[in-house]
Homo-oligomer: 342 residues x 3
């Protein structure tokens, strides 16, 4: 399979990033990643803070064709969105950002802990000048007991990172041109997926593309796939996925029969917000081509739509899938022509 | 009481739909609906999957006056919004959609399980041509245990259905003209309401009407009423109900003292999203006329507002209610005149 | 410290409001406020309804310079936003609203219980004419058991109040000019904060100000600060706070290891909605100047941004903080000049 930006498989970047320190990551003094399905502890109380590891990664910010910019884990490999970065609660991520461009830029994370010099914001003079290399340190922590049997929340979540310095002090230029990506902080015991897709709604685009050039995400029937959805820009959107649904909570799964979370298949995806969930591809609905799209009518019609191809369990194409893909490309092409003629 | 679109009583469509198979529904091999307040099981774990029933319903898509379209359970009975469809987790709903119009159209559900040929989307060649009859099958399921003591979510929720084929491949034309309705999937043990109201925020309208012609929902003091709120179109809204509130979770009620859900009386209601909740009419506040409205100032002022009339327990009008209703009609009429003169 | 609108300390208004009845509040026949960390009951079931107290407060609605209006707890002390009003579930708040202005206006609360004559809406003839004094009664209640082990929600929440009568029947004029404030209903056992900040996103402003004149909120390292965020007007926003995060539930804290709530640092803040949370200032990230801002790029760039100054534990300024503050004022001043020239 071709490596598509925003799409990763367990064999490629994600699992490696967590567990083996490949792709420029060096682990320092830490334990390995928890296995799938290992709960934090048996008794329902959080495990003691595990000895977090420090992972080091070099990220290259690069100019791309079409006035786009991207982050990548090696020179010449920048993509839009950037790579999925993934750690466990308690871990530290040290990012050496190499700015290969002629623009001021930075990397600013959501959710994790950082001191002012790793803020990534010009407010705190935290950015890379053109050609400059700078290290940002992102820490994370487990939940901490507070009074009244409550807990101050830990860092676990489907977060994201983005430029905060190109164009203006809020990174408006960098975000518009593709400097963003997913950041996942897992709680020990979280279920790990087999595939991951990053979907960024940014202005009227998905991952800075419009249909029919939006990403087609692929999985085999019953594979556990993880979606990380991120909002950026100036417009408000709602993310809808056909034939699949998830709980509107931290993991997208229910914590048990008393979990009160609403189950949804359509969710606001607005600037600066992110969420994630896992589904079993085609579970209960079968293989086929399913749309994901913004449910704002003018947005979906204009091209904020893409395909989730669920192949047969053996990887072969299900009946009708080729036709649906051609239909998607054709209809959307027609819409483009129509727009061009106006 | 006159049967108002978007408003149903236990004696009319809803209870019948669940329990007795009236109104064109045929049950096949299933058990009856659970009684109010019967928990799924005593021990806090989900009941074993009950033998789901298959219900069959014929829905007629019809043209209505004023360039509107509606779904109905019998010829000549189409309304905007369409009827409330309601099943239990595990049930299957077989919908025979009769397209009596000259337009291509379909029916696409949120939340439930369907194979590609019941997608309702032109992408999968799943729609009714003018005059055509086609059957769509919607299945549902209970939650399923996953690793780590988590559960993949079941189908229970306040969902909705809508056209996905009129005007363009996303049903923009059908949705704009009224082809939408509420779909409820209940978990066994859920509390059943005495009355139900469907509120659809679609562009600057409520159920495709503007004040003072928006629906006036009615209940007697302390009746358990269920609101199903649905968003459509291109605009973003917030739904506010005066003097009543609900938990921001699956049911609108708290699952117990440790349920962390925020309690709210104002919630985003954006294209493709839906939620529902139950309130006891006038509970703690007494009978009277209460407004529901979009809280975006320009939207409420322009007519995205309606009334919730809580009558006395015996059904009589509370003091001041008539005056408030006349005031609503008058003020809104004044706003209309003002707009017309500009 | 100067008393900044929207910012209160335990020594000033909040704690007094809850526990001692200062600032014009008179307690009537009630018990004192629960101490920090006292759970509602040991067994996980809600405590029996405590004997609620009735608190009486006089609020003055006043015209302010710059065509603004505000609510205040004494003549000449109106602010934008108005004072934080705070009670426990079960309490009643009797508000005598003195309208010192030449405009029709009212006070309408979210979340609490009120009969039609305290609705604050012209629909129910509930408002103050110019110069008029009128009493509004807001009641509250604890959760109540329903069938199926569920509970109808209590009143606890981060709510708000606002005008509903100036300019039009929805208070569009009063809200635009500053007639709004925070209302907190606590559950017994809730953790009380040391400082409180009210942030209102109203059109393109924060508390009706634009940067660099937006509020700079201040706390010392590790102080427990409570943020109450409120949305108003016509525009949609997302509230983002740098280097701090909270659970997306009633309190912002986790109820325990099984609390499924998503942890977030960016949340939709739209007209009529509100939420609140507590953070330990600079916890895990250290002292410094942290931005809060709307994450819609055009909004933050236009001035929907402010500062959260986390001082050292002893109240002294951390290194770099003065520079960051000057930078904020300068950059935003440059943006203003740039806008003015266009």
């Amino acid at each position: 399979m071709v490596d598509t930006p925003g799409q990763s498989t367990a064999a490629f970047s994600r699992r490696a990033l967590i567990a083996t320190g490949a792709l420029g990551l060096a682990t320092a003094g830490g334990v390995g990643a928890a296995a799938v399905g290992t709960p934090a502890s048996a008794g329902g109380t959080p495990a003691r803070a595990a000895a977090g590891v420090t992972r080091r990664v070099t990220i290259y910010a690069e100019a791309l064709p079409g006035n786009q910019f991207g982050y990548g884990l090696a020179p010449g490999q920048a993509t839009v969105p950037g790579p999925i970065l993934e750690i466990y609660e308690g871990d530290t991520l040290e990012i050496t950002l190499v700015n290969t461009t002629t623009q001021r830029l930075s990397i600013h994370p959501h959710g994790v802990d950082y001191s002012v010099d790793s803020d990534g914001a010009p407010l705190n003079a935290s950015f890379n000048n053109p050609g400059e290399t700078r290290t940002y340190v992102w820490r994370s922590h487990e939940m901490v007991a507070a009074a009244g049997r409550r807990f101050m929340p830990g860092s676990a979540g489907y977060w994201h990172y983005h430029d905060h310095a190109m164009g203006d002090d809020h990174g408006t230029g960098g975000i518009a041109r593709g400097l963003y990506g997913a950041l996942i902080v897992r709680r020990r015991g979280d279920i790990l997926p087999e595939k991951q897709f990053t979907v960024v709604f940014n202005e009227m685009m998905v991952n800075n593309k419009m249909a029919p050039n939006t990403p087609m995400f692929e999985a085999n029937l019953s594979q556990r796939v993880e979606w990380i959805a991120i909002g950026h820009g100036n417009l408000f959107h709602t993310f809808h996925l056909h034939a699949h649904r998830w709980a509107d909570n931290r993991t997208g799964m229910l914590e048990g029969p008393a979990d009160p979370s609403q189950v949804i298949d359509n969710k606001d995806l607005n600037p600066g917000s992110s969420f994630g969930f896992q589904v079993l591809a085609g579970d209960g609905v079968g293989p086929g081509v399913w749309m994901y799209h913004c449910h704002v009518q003018q947005h979906s019609t204009a091209g904020m739509a893409g395909l989730f191809l669920v192949r047969n369990a053996d990887g072969s194409m299900p009946p009708g899938a080729e036709e649906a893909i051609h239909r998607f490309q054709g209809h959307m092409k027609a819409a483009e022509d129509h727009t061009a003629h106006q």
